[in-house]
Symmetry: C2
Subunit: 405 residues, 2 copies
């Protein structure tokens, strides 16, 4: 007998008909004599309409926001339990406070501190499926919290750790993780396996199937995650775990993000602490700085500092720099919009030299100019003209042998 966590996203439970279909998937795993925890998101559209209600009152209070918005998952939990019972699968719903899923941190962006799964585990003895409302928990003040980014996926991963589940299946509207975005190239392949690290890089570089936070939680708790399609449940999807032998492939996927802006500060006084001051100031204004490059001109005691930010943060960033002019010396600030970041990701590049050179060569052969480069152990990102995104993704996808044959 195994214990499984099955999580269904918003599009998988968008209507009561779809909830009944998802219940059939649960039943098929239940009938194999597994202990089952089901985690559900809000029905697609519900969360947005609840947020609209909150926004229309136009007063910010995150604890009341959490109370209102968490009702979406509450509704699905009740409906999923009904759908399971209709199939003769014993079930009961659990809200965050009932389990409890204890959270810390700020309302609306809380994080899971501790789950006490005793009630759920007790129900396993009666062969009862636990249907858990995702995305929510309870604070030390006994108020309802929501857990921000990663939401219900994170609930599923933490529950899988708490009940020592063999597997955490994330059911969604795609059938797994792909080598790249199918919208950019029709040669994408579905990956059968991917490592946590690779998945984290894929997610943070633009792949939308899972939030970075959830994959990090899975890695930290050693939870085997499968990304699977609700609409094709016989397919096993993509397995995310440590147990991946990547010796044969240097690159696992190509990711991109299209809303990048580049800022260059020209002729910054080159003395210790200046860069720190700049980026501290940006961070305290919640600007999400990504790639950073610094070119020193030693003879002139000056330096240029270049970095990228999401387009949405550009205006705020320029304001911060204008303000900083009172304290640090520089000649001017240049900004450039309409840029994309394209990244290749793969654990295999640790063992294979020359991957970066091959990437740059490929882009150059396709007349794509590189503005900024940044690298990590298992990722190389380049900033390019946004109009070239598609051709860059396609060219890299081919040159690293990711194309479907």
């Amino acid at each position: 007998m195994s214990t499984l966590v099955l999580k269904f996203g918003g599009t998988s439970v968008a209507t009561t008909k779809l909830i009944e279909s998802a219940a059939k998937i649960v039943k098929s795993e239940y009938d194999k004599n597994n202990n089952i925890v089901v985690v559900v998101s809000a029905m697609s559209g519900t969360t947005n309409s609840l947020i609209d209600h909150v926004n229309s009152i136009d007063f910010n209070d995150d604890s009341e926001y959490d109370l209102v918005v968490s009702s979406g998952e509450q509704i699905t939990a009740g409906l999923m339990s009904l759908a399971l019972k209709k199939l003769n699968v014993p079930a009961r719903s659990w809200l965050g406070w009932q389990i409890p899923i204890i959270t810390r941190g700020q309302h609306r962006n809380a994080f899971i501190d501790k789950i006490v799964p005793d009630g759920i585990v007790n129900d396993f003895k009666e062969k009862k499926v636990a249907v858990v409302a995702g995305f929510q928990g309870i604070s030390s003040e006994e108020r309802i919290t929501t857990i921000g980014r990663g939401g219900s996926d994170n609930t599923a991963v933490f529950l899988a750790a708490a009940v020592a589940a063999e597997r955490c299946d994330i059911y969604t509207d795609v059938d797994g993780v792909y080598t790249s975005d199918p919208k950019m190239t029709d040669k994408v392949r579905r990956l059968d396996k991917i490592s946590y690290e690779e998945m984290i890089e894929m997610a943070s570089q633009g792949a939308k199937v899972l939030q970075t936070t959830s994959v990090e939680s899975a890695m930290n708790h050693d939870v085997n995650v499968n990304v699977r399609s609700t609409f094709n449940p016989s397919d096993e999807g993509t397995q995310i775990s440590n147990d991946v032998s990547n010796e044969t492939r240097a690159v696992t996927g190509v990711a991109y993000s299209k809303d990048e802006a580049k800022i260059t500060i020209i002729d910054v006084e080159d003395k210790p602490g200046v860069a720190a001051e700049i980026f501290k100031e940006l961070a305290s204004s919640s600007v999400n700085v990504d790639m950073i490059v610094q070119n020193n001109f030693i003879e002139r005691k000056m330096t240029n500092i270049t970095f990228t930010v999401p387009m949405t943060d550009l205006k705020k960033s320029l304001g911060v720099l204008e303000e900083l002019k009172k304290r640090i010396v520089y000649s001017k600030v240049l900004d450039e919009q309409n840029l994309s970041k394209v990244s290749i990701i793969g654990s295999g590049m640790r063992n294979q030299p020359g991957i970066a050179a091959k990437m740059f060569d490929c882009l150059s052969n396709n007349n794509i100019n590189i503005e900024v480069i940044s690298t990590s152990e298992i990722k190389i990102s380049v900033l390019i003209d946004r109009n070239k995104t598609e051709s860059a993704v396609n060219a890299l996808h081919s040159v690293f042998n990711l194309d479907k044959i």
Copy 2:
């Protein structure tokens, strides 16, 4: 400093704009230095759409029903707190389980057993308004319950008792309790005061402004209830309490219900226990029997038993009687549809003789035939042809001096 409970019904909080208007009413009471508990219903339409979701799955489980449906009041509680804070009124939302409002009995039809208002009363010290989600509580199994008929009105009345409130204001879409239904006669007057007993009879005889259960709770807990209009808050509405001097009026109101059916069992064997057996059987089939009349023909040792049921229960009742034919002796069953029950209600009739005669005389003068009569201490009801309902209500309203001058 007084403590007030203010309850807003579904039409009073149907949109976020209306919630903001209701919050202004709360603020005006708060600014008079009162401790305030606000009880909210679900936004009009929300409960029905949640019930539709549950029904579409077509499996009956009352605990999951409660989980889903209670989210409606949860949403309003959060939005009302936001609206109050926007007006600089300190507030926090409370769900049934957070207070707690402890219930007993069946899911979906639970009743309030105990309220522990310590958290709310503590918040009074910080001048904080408690915004309570109506209609819900928590069972001894720590699951969410809903409290059936009377719903949020009942929550308000019980909270008023728990915090020893001076007043419980029920804000709704009408400005109080009327002498009769404005749809039937344009001569209706709004009552400034009415006794609990009278209000209970008015509600159970067809007046829809409050559920009988809520008024009974108010009477049992000695809670002063005011029925007031959200859309005209400067008006004080109708006050329901024991403190009513009715010496001058014999009749307080005229109520009616249009969906009555009459059943007569002809030539029932007249021996002890027969009537008991009939009505026990009907009750165990959940038929709601109302007026009962029995005519004995002593010389024949036979009797006719007549009673009324709601139209919706007619078919079921006839089935029960058919089944009973195996055990009791009678010749046949007659049924008559298209009947109305018209009632005059007033504590004053206790001290004034001749009220019944005056009623029957009035109806006779208007060519309205009486089929069945039933009376209580403060109420006289007659069953008449449904087509005569309006003229009966109008005639009685006039003859008992209820008309607006």
